[in-house]
């Protein structure tokens, strides 16, 4: 009786599609070929969209950009499990989630060109603007989930953060609130193993992020985040539970950012080419392509024509983004309050005078 075990927390990892594109037969979710082709399309679009942004940035046509290359499966895997009435609460690197959830690419570009208007989601889609203060948005995921629950809606909220985000107090408070109030909220942590220059092993002494779920009495799972099937299945199941009133889940997607932290960063200062090479072999896109090819669903001709089609679409997005004239300077005071208070009315006049 005296020295007793009071809790045993077991944490699992899910992998379905291995790096050579083979599916574990026992875990095969049996998705239709169109679905798999759709995953591939969305991942490729995300990669090309990202690549274009980096090019634009070098040309001075884009602001600071946080590249998602390498994290396509982690992002599309989740987005592909969303229903239109779900809510997305992103961090700043989830361009792939947004695109796959139906946010116009032109808006994403607008936002990162430095225009607040790019954060307005189209009617019928609920996506909060990117949250820059790391980790803080996870709490919004709790609140949105709670609102959906109070309103009796059959919808879920998905909130994103990175491995670095798990060190913030808000991560803890969000997961603890989620444990207590059981909102339909799925927390997706893309553990890309770096928070700028800090490697995951210095971010926490915990062996995984998934195991932190036990601290909150909620389910947690680690998935191979470069395995679109594992991510999709974990997200699908978590979302189904959420919508069914069974509460929150923590998903850790093990992945890697191939590029720099942002266009202001130089990753070679702090990480080795060997590590990068190791992860490039586990490229989420290649892996799915190998699988599709092995099943005779895909070949290089398909690939080439899809790339061309997606590139053309992305050029249109760039054009649309750049076609939008910058807002007038007075725009900056229009949105702070529902009605313009006296001091901002005065300041609007100042702005007009200064612009003259």
């Amino acid at each position: 009786m005296p020295r007793t075990v009071i809790h045993t927390g077991v944490t699992e990892r899910l992998e379905i599609l291995d790096k050579d594109g083979r599916i574990d037969p026992e875990l095969d979710p049996g998705l239709a070929p169109e679905i798999l082709l759709g995953f591939h399309r969305a991942m490729l679009q995300a990669r090309l969209f990202d690549d274009k942004a980096l090019k634009l940035q070098r040309q001075g046509r884009m602001g600071t950009w946080a590249s998602l290359e390498g994290q396509e499966a982690a992002q599309v895997g989740v987005a592909s499990a969303l229903a239109p009435e779900d809510w997305v609460i992103p961090s700043f690197r989830e361009h792939g989630v947004l695109l796959a959830f139906g946010i116009p690419g032109a808006d994403v570009y607008r936002y990162w060109r430095g225009d607040e208007r790019g954060a307005i989601p189209p009617e019928g889609r609920n996506v909060l603007p990117p949250s820059v203060p790391v980790g803080s948005q996870l709490l919004h995921g709790v609140g949105v989930g709670l609102a959906l629950k109070l309103q009796g809606r059959r919808a879920a909220a998905v909130a994103f953060a990175g491995d670095g985000g798990t060190s913030q107090g808000d991560f803890h408070e969000a997961l603890n609130f989620a444990g207590v109030f059981s909102p339909p909220t799925v927390f997706v942590i893309q553990n890309n193993h770096w928070a700028i220059s800090l490697p995951f092993r210095k971010q926490t002494a915990s062996a995984s992020i998934a195991q932190k779920a036990h601290a909150y009495g909620i389910p947690g799972i680690q998935v191979d985040g470069n395995d679109i099937l594992a991510v999709h299945v974990a997200a699908r199941d978590a979302l189904a539970r959420a919508r069914a009133g069974e509460g929150p889940t923590l998903i850790e997607a093990h992945t890697y950012r191939f590029g720099n932290h942002t266009t202001s960063d130089e990753a070679t200062r702090y990480r080795s080419p060997e590590e990068l090479a190791w992860w490039r072999e586990r490229d989420p896109l290649l892996r799915l392509r190998r699988h599709l090819e092995a099943r005779g669903l895909w070949d290089s001709t398909h690939e080439e024509s899809l790339v061309a089609e997606l590139r053309a679409g992305i050029e249109d997005m760039v054009e649309a983004a750049e076609a939008l004239p910058p807002p007038p300077p007075t725009e900056m005071v229009e949105w702070t309050y529902a009605q313009l208070p006296w001091h901002l009315a005065e300041q609007r006049a100042e702005i007009e005078e200064a612009a003259r």
Binding site: P129, S136, D170
Partner: protein
């Protein structure tokens, strides 16, 4: 309109009860707001009346209380978040300043933040550290927030109801020292008072005092004391601290030519500074004397033994009035 005798804390409770009944989007969340009815009883009985889904006892985490309110508001609710004492607003500062105050602007109106952050505030009840703070200037300086502090039960009810109905976030500071200081007839049922309007507590022609919350009382006492000398002092209770009723202030100072601002918060970069700055900017030639500030000192709010020497009292306001009158 029928009325009922209420203390300020009862009026606060009543405003929430009425708005909870009126609008299903309103929810209350905070520490000990449920069975305990709040440490000051401001939410007494609300959970019993409206249920655990409308009145939520939260774990002990202020950032989470406000951050959850952000999500609730984004998805169409109208949360009233209680922070147990204003001294514990700091852990929620990131959520307040980075999200509550900015989400409407950041989303270009798509996600307004009709949130009220209620918090017992200011000194006078001899509690432990961090239970007596006056942080209004921090929130006034943060674009996107409205800031309110009532000084009477009636104002507490009407202003809180307006704050709950307002589409913008309101930091609602409740002076603990006044929670049970007086009872007065307060309108029952639905009742609102407009935000952004000051209240002239006493009319006068020789000097103006602008103040709010706990220091309305010493200001009035000082006015009476000085008036024994034959002058007349106007006392304005600002009520809405931002965006405040500049018109009322300028109108009064335009007549009196003399202004004393009284507040509990530390002086430096406090709201008194903004009042002084605006008044000298817009009425320099009317000023017969410098704007005086009677405030808390620039030190942490002291422990109970010295608290009464920190909070502006009648004597200090009298001295300031004399100084401005004799300038």
């Amino acid at each position: 309109m029928s009325t009922r005798k209420m203390t300020m804390v009862q009026a606060v409770r009543d405003a929430m009860a009425v708005e909870l009944a009126r609008d299903p989007r309103v929810v209350v969340l905070g520490e000990d707001v449920g069975a305990n009815g709040g440490v000051f009883r401001a939410t007494e009985g609300l959970q019993a009346e409206f249920g655990e889904t409308r009145v939520l006892d939260t774990p002990l985490a202020e950032s989470a209380i406000v951050g959850t309110a952000v999500g609730l508001a984004a998805a169409g609710m109208r949360p009233i978040a209680e922070i147990q004492f204003s001294g514990f607003l700091y852990p929620a500062m990131n959520q307040i300043a980075a999200h509550v105050a900015r989400m409407r602007n950041r989303s270009r109106g798509r996600y307004p933040m009709p949130i009220v952050i209620r918090t017992p505030s200011a000194g006078g009840i001899r509690p432990p550290e961090h239970h007596s703070e006056s942080y209004e200037a921090l929130f006034v300086h943060t674009p996107g927030l409205k800031v309110v502090m009532p000084a009477t039960p009636t104002d507490a009810k009407g202003l809180l109801a307006s704050a709950i109905r307002d589409d913008d976030p309101v930091v609602f500071l409740e002076p603990t020292a006044l929670y049970r200081a007086t009872r007065e007839d307060v309108p029952e049922g639905e009742f609102t008072l407009p935000l952004g309007k000051a209240r002239t507590v006493r009319e006068g022609r020789d000097a103006t005092i602008v103040t709010w919350g706990t220091t309305v009382k010493p200001a009035l006492e000082a006015a009476r004391e000085v008036e024994a000398g034959g002058v007349q002092i106007e006392v304005i209770d600002l009520r809405t601290l931002w965006p405040f009723d500049l018109e009322a202030v300028l109108e009064s100072v335009g007549r009196t030519g003399r202004l004393v601002v009284v507040h509990e918060a530390p002086r430096t970069a406090g709201l008194g500074a903004e009042l002084a700055a605006l008044v000298q900017e817009r009425a320099l030639l009317r000023l017969l004397a410098p704007v005086e500030r009677v405030t808390g000192y620039d030190v942490p709010f002291p422990y109970p033994m010295l608290e009464k020497h920190y909070i502006p009292d009648r004597g200090r306001v009298v001295r300031a009035l004399r100084k401005t009158l004799e300038f």
